[in-house]
Amino acid sequence: MGLFDSLLGRSKPKPPRLDALFSLPNAALTLEVAAGFHATGIGSVCYRGAEGAPFEQIQVQLTQLLSGASPERVDDSYGWTWLVLRRDPSDVAGLVTELHAVNSTLEDEGFGPQLLCSLIGFADDAGRRLALVYLYKRGTFYPFAPVPGAEQKRDNALELQIRAVVGGDLPIEPDVTRWFPVWGAPGLDAPPALPSA
């Protein structure tokens, strides 16, 4: 925000950046080969629901648009809405395309600034869970790995390992203070999907 906007107390809503999401399929391959994590086929978009009828209509529209990916709407305890999409785990590119459809619909209707983050789920054979979180406002990713079975504990070692592994494929958020935890994010606590045959 510029000096002038500060002086006049005008913070402009920040538009989202959508493009970096398309580098995910490559990163998924790298994760599979280098770290043994495979995609679960679950992806989600988290946004801040606005009040008013127009936004409600857009949500209905979104559900119809994504009927192929059996979208599920979850309102979390913090007042945010998650749109959870399920796809064949082998089809990360298809999942990303559908996530992008949600993003561009919201943006076209003037609700782009409401987008918070997107999660793409991964799991390894030992049952560890991992999500790559995409921050719309920054255009960057960070890994989030809750410790299985523990209450609100992050596996920082795993997260840093994943950062090193996918750092070449994805723009990783350099400021680790912005790697905020997404406890209880839908799709993250579910049992790992079976590896694709």
Binding site: S6, G9, P15, E51
Partner: protein, 306 residues
């Protein structure tokens, strides 16, 4: 492609800009007066420098340590994500949505429902809520209050208001130093005149700058309301939070509230409510109806199709 649904509020920006320009003009008038009075009386410039630099240094310190001072004054303590997971999660998400660095989070143990933001820059900011606020508001309302406070941080309101109030501090000094210098030099006619002019200029400038800073403070509250409501996309929750807090503020006994008064400038709702009618002229916060009216307008903009 519409980037955002909200229409810019040019009127508010204009009024705020005008207030800042007026304050700046006042500052120039005051500087000229100081120069004329002390420069004209000969040899007083050095004394004047010491007299003015020292108190302005204090003001600077008040700004520089604003986070520590306000926290100590309100007996607020910083809390870790483990101590207040929900509060932190709310701040985390709002900061990610607004793309701003996460401020520290603090809690003040008092039943007065209130919240404040302080700190000299967005990187050094603290956002604090009282325990009374958490008890009275729903989660959605608490989040609306937090987004109002985060907007104060984003707008650098601590810095803006400190700079704005420095004009008043200078004017107050002018009155006092005119008094000292006239006492020091005895009672010849010349110094008597200087004393009179300096006191008059000081009084007028002080009064005008006091009003202007209050006007500016109210505009910045409205700006923070607006930005906060746009951030969450839910003006209604901020409306209900403000209504609840203001109702409670009126019921709480006054003695406790006076203790919180000096920190009002950065509160969401002023703790000390004057009962005199002209209070709105001196108030740091706009009246509730005005705030609700603005938020209602935003809410209607969200209800319009297309």
């Amino acid at each position: 492609m519409a980037q955002t649904r909200f229409r810019p509020d040019r009127g508010l920006s204009f009024r705020m800009g005008l207030t800042i320009v007026l304050l700046f003009l006042l500052y120039i008038v005051l500087s000229a007066a100081i120069w004329w009075i002390f420069g004209g009386s000969g040899g007083g410039v050095g004394v004047a420098l010491i007299a003015f630099v020292l108190p302005l240094g204090l003001l600077w310190g008040q700004w520089y340590y604003s986070d520590k001072l306000a926290m100590a004054g309100m007996r607020a303590r910083e809390v870790t994500p483990e101590q207040a997971p929900q509060l932190h999660a709310m701040v985390d998400r709002l900061c990610a949505l607004a793309d701003m660095p996460k401020p520290r989070v603090a809690v003040a143990d008092t039943d007065i429902p209130n919240a404040f933001a302080t700190g000299r820059s967005p990187d050094r900011a603290v956002v604090a809520v009282t325990t009374g606020l958490g008890r009275r508001l729903t989660d959605a309302e608490l989040e609306a209050v937090l987004s109002h406070e985060l907007s104060h941080v984003a707008h650098r309101d601590v810095t803006v208001m400190t700079v704005a109030s420095s004009v008043g501090v200078l004017a107050g000094l002018l009155m006092r130093s005119a008094m000292w210098s006239s006492m020091g030099r005895g009672r010849d006619q010349n110094s008597g005149l200087i004393f009179l002019v300096a006191t008059l200029v000081g009084i007028v400038v002080y009064a005008v700058s006091f009003l202007l800073t209050r006007v500016l403070s109210r505009y910045r509250e409205l700006a923070a309301d607006r930005a906060g409501a746009i951030l969450t996309g839910q003006p209604a929750h901020l409306m209900s939070a403000l209504t609840k807090i203001s109702g409670d503020m009126a019921r709480i006994p006054e003695r406790d509230l006076r203790a919180a008064e000096p920190y009002n400038a950065f509160f969401i709702y002023p703790a000390f409510t004057d009962k005199v009618d002209f209070a709105s002229l001196f108030s740091t916060h706009p009246p509730l109806e005005k705030r609700l009216e603005q938020l209602g307008r935003l809410s209607r903009e969200l209800g319009q199709p297309g």
